[in-house]
């Protein structure tokens, strides 16, 4: 298992300036904000489960930009139906990363059901081009490199540990600021 903040850091190291990064509600957005705030990040402050659908729309609309969808197992489980839709639409520029700590950590660490359910099988059944499952930094690095080598949709499932990092601030940008900064990054790719 990889500490989640480390997994997020490694993912952000692979992000190119033109890439779009979407992060789900709760601690994941806060950790992305702290690790690498940038205009091309969309912090989904609410609407748990909506991220992958929004990412799909953005990937279809902007095929020239890579779209990273960064969510947890709880968020992925909530919107399982979006996975076959992503497979069906097949955007080559979508990189779907699930940080699976088998828990709802943002609300106190209540267990999710992903300890007994392998989310990569949904992506395999849905027809993602590549599906990787890893629990260490080397595996994550090579999965990210694999994503850069060919078209997606790609899924990377990272088994992450629950290591609460104290004192992580909330995203300080207002929702409309997040929208407007992100909007300028989408257009920058055109």
């Amino acid at each position: 298992m990889i500490p989640r903040y480390l997994a997020i850091e490694k993912v952000l190291e692979h992000v190119q300036p033109a890439d779009l990064v979407l992060s789900t509600t709760g601690m994941i957005s806060r950790e992305v904000f702290v690790s690498g705030d940038r205009a091309g990040n969309f912090y989904m402050l609410g609407s748990m489960g909506l991220l992958s659908s929004f990412g799909l729309g953005l990937a279809l609309f902007n095929p020239e930009q890579r779209v990273f969808v960064l969510e947890g197992d709880g968020s992925a489980l909530m919107s399982l139906g979006a996975v076959p839709l992503i497979g069906s639409e097949g955007p080559g520029n979508l990189i779907h990363i699930i940080l699976d700590n088998e828990a709802y950590e943002s609300t106190g660490g209540q267990p999710s059901i992903s300890s007994g359910f392998d989310l990569t099988r949904v992506a395999e059944g849905a027809g993602y081009r590549t599906v990787a499952r890893t629990g260490d930094v080397e595996g994550l690095q090579s999965a990210l490199l694999e994503c850069a080598r060919g078209p997606g949709p790609h899924l990377i499932l990272v088994k992450a540990g629950i290591v609460p990092v104290k004192g992580i601030p909330r995203v300080s940008h207002s929702p409309t600021d997040i929208r407007d900064r992100f909007n300028s990054s989408v257009h920058a790719g055109e």
């Binding site: 609407s47 992958s52 409309t176 929208r179 989408v186």
Partner: protein, 164 residues
């Protein structure tokens, strides 16, 4: 009105990107879609998924559309309140208004939502217009003005038989 004209009115206003979950109100609308090559449609699995997909259009300077039955409004309450209204990311909701007028119209499963549909939209602060046989252009233009001025989602309510 005819389904072809329905698409024509939308297309003329730059609306070409749609996602949704079908409703029988839009049976002919879906049939006519094949004849309008400009339309891009993503067949969503739930209404919230459709809203997530369609909202992406905003970031390319366009307005996305979501097609749904009014029973699907329930699946939109969270994404509307904590996404669309919070970030002020508009979409056009094309809602099949099943159970209009309440019982005995339509099937029992539509009776409650049939009556509550306008109330729920009012409660959420979603502007809406009601499609009549001859008002699509003025109704849609009023709605689009509202949507653009407030930067919020807006709904066009479509009763059975309005588009054939």
């Amino acid at each position: 009105m005819k389904a072809q004209a329905f698409w024509e009115v939308l297309k003329q206003r730059g609306l070409t990107f749609f996602s949704g979950v079908p409703d029988s109100t839009f049976h002919e609308v879906y049939n006519a879609m094949a004849g309008v090559p400009e339309i891009r449609y993503v067949p969503a699995v739930r209404e919230d998924v459709a809203l997530g997909v369609a909202s992406a259009a905003y970031f390319s300077g366009q307005l996305g559309g979501v097609i749904l039955q009014n029973s699907g409004i329930g699946n939109l309450v969270n994404p509307l309140t904590s996404f669309s209204l919070m970030y002020k990311i508009p979409v056009l909701l094309l809602i099949g208004w099943r159970g209009y007028g309440g019982p005995p119209n339509d099937a029992p499963e539509h009776w409650i939502m049939g009556v509550k549909t306008p109330e729920i939209l009012d409660l959420l602060g979603i502007p809406y217009e009601i499609l009549e046989p001859d008002n699509m252009e003025p109704a849609l233009d009023r709605l689009l003005t509202n949507i653009r001025e407030q930067s919020v989602p807006g709904a066009l309510l479509v009763r059975a038989g309005m588009v054939d």
